[in-house]
Symmetry: C2
Subunit: 407 residues, 2 copies
């Protein structure tokens, strides 16, 4: 008897379950493992023996799961201790794997999860434990090194660009239009905000300014350029990363919430979007400013996912399984872009330790010299990732999704 287990970690994405399905179907095809187990709530749940058998899922279940957003196995934000300090969890983890005859652990996640993959595989190697640990990339933030892009990003980018297009139309209907600010996710890297550049009406981008954490942001310049644009067009559409910083490197959402009376210390005045709104109003450019935080919809809107992204998430799952058959451990399956026209990729193996705890920033040379927009090179990079629409199973007018945790 030889089994494997797959689990999910960190913030959900629309396509994170496609990778699970990739592992399960990959194994169905070559029958390398007797059972593919699923760990509930990532490594945290595995350590509590919360494990289900995914090999019992029907083909219909798997098809549904492939098109269900958000970690169906549940997730965690659990960092393993350094095993040189304490290896209790490590012992327990491998004991649980032993009890279920599990040879390989697949972990779907971002750079924190790759840290776990790296630590577990190193520990196994050190102790002569014959188990394999393989990483499968996932994050809407697209901030993993050693992979052209991450599964999850394309769908978030497609959602953001569509929401930009639709809210642009919504915010342009009056003769006295104001300023619209769209705040998108991205604490450290601006990949998500950059995707708004794809939104076009009549062949023209609808966004006037995009501000990323990687750009140089100056309040004075911001107020000047927004004011100029507003005087010219009577409307301005702005997209901003939640992680935008000021000239001193301080997060603007911190600044926004720091100058609050004691009695309001529990009150979160909102993110960077609301902060920029107040800046515009206080400087009397106009009082007609509307801010929208897209929030978690960015990472779970499967109804608007990119088919390219779904298939790539599926592929890295499947290729992780192949990678385990070949005997690898401590590796992550990365994506290499071969060409853009037509778009072609291949997967390859990269040491999880290289990916762990690193951040891939949006390239500075893809930000315009003014620091307030994105270059055509970035458009060329993002564009292929949002292509294709999934054909979801619709029941009573709504997409049908499944939840393995309550099954």
């Amino acid at each position: 008897m030889k089994n494997c287990i797959v689990a999910q970690s960190g913030g959900p994405t629309s396509v994170i379950n496609s990778s699970v399905v990739g592992v399960v179907i990959g194994n169905k095809e070559i029958k390398h493992y007797d059972n593919v187990y699923g760990g509930i709530n990532g490594i945290e749940g595995i350590l509590q023996n919360r494990i289900i058998n995914l090999s019992e899922l029907t083909d219909e279940d798997l098809e549904l799961l492939k098109y269900t957003p958000s970690s169906a196995l549940g997730s965690c934000r659990y960092r393993m201790k350094d095993f040189t300090i304490s290896d209790q969890e490590y012992l327990k983890f491998f004991q649980i794997l032993d009890e279920l005859d599990i040879q390989t652990f697949f972990y779907i996640g971002g750079n924190d999860s790759m840290d776990t993959v790296s630590k577990l595989s190193k520990y196994a190697e050190l102790k002569g434990i014959d188990k394999q640990i393989i990483g499968i990339p996932k994050t809407i933030d697209n901030d993993l090194l050693y992979t052209d892009h991450t599964p999850g990003y394309g769908s978030a980018a497609k959602y953001i660009a569509t929401a930009t297009l639709e809210t642009y139309l919504d915010s342009s209907v009056y003769s006295n239009n104001g300023i619209f600010i769209l705040e998108v996710m991205g604490r450290s890297a601006g990949w998500l905000a950059a995707s708004a550049v794809l939104a076009e009406i009549n062949g023209q981008p609808v966004v006037d300014f995009i501000y990323l954490p990687e750009g140089k942001f100056s309040k004075e310049q911001f107020l000047n350029e927004v004011n100029d644009k507003f005087q010219k067009k009577n409307k301005v559409y702005i997209v901003v990363s939640e992680g935008l910083k000021d000239e001193t490197g301080e997060y603007l959402f911190n600044t926004a919430n720091s100058n609050i009376h004691d009695g309001f210390s529990h009150v979160q005045l909102g993110g960077v979007g609301k902060y920029l709104e107040r800046l515009i109003v206080e400087n009397r450019i106009t009082s007609r400013v509307k801010t929208l935080e897209l929030g978690v919809t960015q990472r779970c809107a499967m109804h608007l996912a990119s088919m390219t992204d779904i298939e790539e998430a599926y592929l890295v799952g499947k290729d992780a399984l192949k990678c385990s058959v070949q005997g690898y451990t401590g590796f992550m399956v990365g994506i290499r872009r071969l060409q853009n026209n037509p778009y072609r990729i291949e997967t390859y193996k990269v040491e999880a330790s290289k990916v762990a705890n690193n951040i891939k920033y949006f390239p500075k040379q893809w930000i315009t010299p003014e620091g307030n927009n994105i270059t055509p090179e970035a458009v060329e990079y993002i564009s292929p990732l949002i292509m294709g629409e999934p054909n979801l199973l619709i029941k009573k007018g709504l997409p049908k999704y499944m939840d393995l945790k309550v099954k």
Copy 2:
């Protein structure tokens, strides 16, 4: 030469342009008018002679327009004076119609717009002006009397139910899940919030509590029921109308923003969702509370519109044209539901004056006795309105929309 003109008013919806296309194609079929003009920015723009010729649009343009969200002709929030006080605008309006040989004015809007339809038609009648004024209903709020429902509502309901489903999955991934609050539009009526009841996983509704302006809301009861549910399930999903009021009839978002120091009088602390979040945190139920305001995405997400809604918006436009051929004036085209299984409707004519300045509230008998959820009768009412998915024209991975204002 005999022409007509159509214009849009009030807040946009996803399907408001389908009604414009209904008028234009309705006329193409029977060739009653030589030209169908479009007024830019509603009656405000017509009074400024900002008018385009919609009969010049190609079939391809019209197809694109039918599936473009948000008022493509622009909108306004313009209330005409009572003509017994001043009829200057009325004189100007009919003079502009005369200059372009316009016989009929079609106005797409909510109860304010039906007030305009009523006033203009009464004035014309009084002065013996041979012009017709016809109303076409539209509002995501579904709060117009004398129509079973309003075009725009079904698409907003479908979007809200889908967003509920997806954010429920997103908010359920951790072992220590918190409380999720979704704030939806609806200042006076709870129709939009009620639609969240449609979201189901494995045949079970995902929403624990829905609070509408029409229900009786008590802070004490709210805290008790949320606490009970949280102790039982370790997660709670709440949907709330922006217009929820407290026991005294005061809007909770007013309460939320009233107790702010002078220095922060310009700061909007957020809506009712954020207010309930603070209530939960301050009463120490849990600090893990997340609030999402869906915002304007509710009324412009054509990518998730209801095909039933699109076709009905088109139909009321087309039937408004027929109504004008029959010589009517001062009427709105309403929708009458004939049956549910299979769902069938017909249109009929109702005096715009009856619809004007009135609000159709969510029926109290469709709220559960506890006041915190929705009955199966309401599900039966809403369900048929969200059926069907449009087949949008996709270009480079994004829906292709048009904007008549910049054409």
